[in-house]
């Protein structure tokens, strides 16, 4: 089973797009995928135009069954949406003694481990309890990086957070960033090459794989506007082609991760 957190401490770096599109890639491969949105902005439900009856709050706090809370925007994809009450859930989680393993416990109790082949968690830009819980649950982090310096700084923060959590729980290399994903790459822009070079250095220094790039594509915006997945707007668009390669690369990387680190 694959568990992934898509995180970057910088906003607007295509975390949600990456989460949704990777979920679709995995679903196309026949993997049953659970996509969890923990961002209070509830972007995924907006860009996919789903209107669930129950949300992450209901699942974690009200202890509703997972099957009651998920919606299926596409075959093989179940989506657990966030709402504004996610913040309230986070506040309540913070009062628990076992607050670090909330996702672990809730998803295990719901049988998600048995029901799904992949769980992808989209987190908020700011580091918070749900990001911690997501990292502890998934242990594998993908960090999309847009072609601007603050995005790289966000990626550095994510790597740093993973390291701090490992130190905190005294489990070296347990939570690890399994890939830096350059997104919105436009080679014609002057800033692209320095950022790519920075990412290459970051990758080599911190031993974090650099994933294949995802090119800038206006289809992403169109898909968001039409409330559709990327391939449903244009199955031959650049971004979709790139994400498919990224998905393969991620699966390949996760195969190489030692068994002890797999969920």
């Amino acid at each position: 089973m694959i568990r992934l957190v898509v995180a970057n401490q910088r906003g607007g770096v295509a975390k949600t797009t990456t989460s949704v599109t990777l979920a679709r890639c995995f679903a196309e491969k026949g993997m049953r995928t659970l996509l969890i949105d923990t961002d209070t902005q509830s972007s995924i439900s907006s860009i996919l135009s789903v209107k669930p009856q129950f949300f992450l709050f209901d699942f974690l706090i009200q202890e509703f069954a997972l099957r009651e809370c998920v919606v299926s925007p596409h075959k093989n994809i179940d989506l657990l949406c966030s709402s504004r009450k996610t913040q309230q859930a986070e506040d309540l989680i913070a009062t628990q003694q076992s607050r670090d393993v909330v996702f672990e416990r809730a998803l295990s109790d719901s049988g998600a481990d048995r029901e799904y082949d992949a769980v992808i968690i989209d987190v908020a830009p700011s580091f918070s309890w749900f990001q911690t819980c997501g990292m502890i649950y998934a242990r594998h982090v993908i960090t999309p990086v847009a072609m601007e310096p603050l995005s790289v700084q966000g990626a550095v923060a994510s790597i740093s957070a993973a390291m701090e959590l490992n130190q905190l729980f005294k489990r070296p290399n347990d939570i690890r960033v399994v890939g830096l994903l350059p997104v919105m790459v436009n080679q014609r822009l002057a800033m692209t090459e320095p950022i790519m070079e920075s990412l290459r250095r970051l990758s080599s220094q911190r031993n974090v794989p650099l994933l294949p790039t995802v090119r800038t594509d206006t289809t992403v915006v169109k898909a968001s506007r039409d409330r559709l997945f990327l391939p449903d707007v244009d199955s031959k668009c650049k971004a979709w082609e790139d994400y498919k390669i990224v998905a393969d690369a991620v699966l390949e990387i996760l195969k190489e991760v030692p068994t002890a680190q797999k969920g």
């Binding site: 202890e63 099957r67 179940d78 309540l92 009062t95 416990r105 998600a112 700084q153 959590l165």
Partner: protein, 448 residues
């Protein structure tokens, strides 16, 4: 012509990692859960731990105490003593007789002293006023109707009752189980009883807390929850064992089990979302059927109204079990009271006699649909059998039956003896007769 910009250098990764802005990224973890709970409570002004609050709930919505001066006027009828005669009559007379300072001005107002011993010269402090107010008993509005839960339905609201009976009707009996089993999702239940899905979920929780159903297998992503639906008998027995004997009815929409005093025993009502406990939190007041409600003290079963006669003797244990086999709604209090009343009428009455009359009465009541409180009717009517001729008739009948039985047994024994004495009897028959006689003697010895 614009000057071409210089080449952009890559970012310094080390500098980024050593940036002070990354310090304390996990600092939110430093807040202990208890402190976080306190902070949240202060933020939401909701007590999520269920601890007691200094004031009753109905007063929480009132605005906080106002500064001195405004409160005195508003609260005078409650907190202040009536205007008393001053101990210094001369001073008072002088004070009242003093001419106004200017023409047309009102005479000085005589302030009523606060009963904490302040003179009118000294202003009462806020603490004094609050202490005075807290000592004054506040009227407690009566909410909910306290009734004894004799039937299963007494512990259910209307919707919970509909849901319970739907579960019971739809459930399947497996092997010799007295309860029934059902696998159903919220959507199915919601559609069946015409209640919103969220309410169905809440009602299922409450039915579980009221010991009417049990979750056998929690639902998963693909399969619905399996419930065990207890029979009415089982529910009454389970509730009695845990002391769930009294309910407070809030119309037909909400019923809470309470102690006999009316104090809450289980979490009351449908909790608002802000007060729900997150997954993994240990409930201070457990709601699950598998966890007995440890909150509160089990209501004392023998405490009755002061107007009623106190049971003076405790009932034999076997009476309770025999009565419960006739009707599970018999609790310890009912058994003790029945036994006391019967003994009062006929001091030498026996358990068998009481059980006999209760059985007769219950048979009658089963045919009479107008009787709602069967146990109450039994408690009222059965002792009267022991005051009239019924008990004498019963004893006469039983004596007659015993005599007839003894006569019949004597005849049988005589037959076997005659068979043994008869010289024409074969040895095989004689052996049989001896065996029967020895068994008869053993039985008689055992009975004696």
């Amino acid at each position: 012509m614009a000057k071409r910009s210089s080449k952009i250098e890559p970012l310094d990764i080390d500098e980024m990692f050593n940036s002070p802005s990354l310090d304390g990224m996990l600092s939110f973890r430093d807040v202990e859960p208890a402190a976080a709970a306190e902070k949240l409570r202060a933020k939401t002004t909701l007590d999520t731990t269920g601890s007691t609050t200094p004031f009753p709930e109905q007063y929480e919505a009132e605005p906080p105490p106002s500064p001195i001066g405004i409160e005195i006027i508003d609260l005078t009828p409650i907190a202040l003593t009536p205007i008393a005669k001053s101990t210094n009559e001369d001073h008072r007379a002088e004070h009242l007789a003093a001419p106004p300072e200017r023409e047309g001005a009102l005479p000085p107002l005589v302030q009523a002293p606060i009963s904490t011993g302040h003179t009118h010269d000294e202003e009462p402090s806020e603490a004094d006023i609050l202490a005075e107010l807290q000592e004054t008993p506040r009227p407690q509005p009566i909410r909910g109707k306290l009734v004894r839960a004799l039937k299963v339905e007494d512990g259910h609201s209307n919707n919970e009752n509909s849901l319970y009976w739907y579960l019971w009707r739809t459930g399947r009996q497996i092997k010799n189980s007295r309860s029934r089993f059902l696998q159903a999702g919220y959507a199915q239940l919601s559609k069946a009883i015409g209640v919103d899905r969220t309410n169905v979920q809440n009602m299922l929780r409450f039915l579980e807390s009221k010991l009417s159903i049990r979750t056998v297998t929690p639902g998963t992503v693909r399969s619905a929850t399996v419930y065990e639906v207890y029979s009415c008998e089982q529910i009454l027995v389970r509730r009695r064992e845990l002391g769930l004997l009294w309910v407070k009815r809030f119309g037909s929409r909400r019923v809470d089990f309470v102690q006999e005093t009316g104090d809450p025993l289980l979490p009351t009502g449908y909790a608002p979302t802000g007060q729900t406990q997150p997954r993994g939190v240990t409930h201070t007041q457990p709601v699950g059927a598998t966890q007995p409600p440890t909150v509160g003290v089990r209501p004392p079963l023998l405490v009755i109204d002061s107007n009623e006669a106190q049971p003076t003797t405790s009932a034999p244990g076997s009476l309770g079990s025999q009565l419960r086999s006739l009707n599970p709604a018999f609790d310890d209090y009912a058994v003790t009271r029945l036994w006391t009343e019967c003994r009062r009428q006929t001091p030498d009455c026996t358990i068998d006699e009481v059980v006999h009359f209760v059985s007769l009465k219950l048979d009658q009541l089963r045919r009479n649909r107008n009787v709602i409180n069967a146990i109450g009717m039994v408690l009222t009517s059965v002792p009267s059998y022991f005051s009239g001729t019924a008990i004498a008739d019963l004893r006469a009948d039983r004596e007659k039956e015993a005599k007839e039985l003894a006569l019949s047994e004597a005849e049988t024994r005589g037959y076997w003896r005659a068979l043994i004495d008869d010289p024409t009897t074969t040895e095989e028959d004689r052996e049989l007769a001896r065996k029967m006689l020895s068994e008869d003697a053993a039985t008689a010895e055992g009975n004696s």
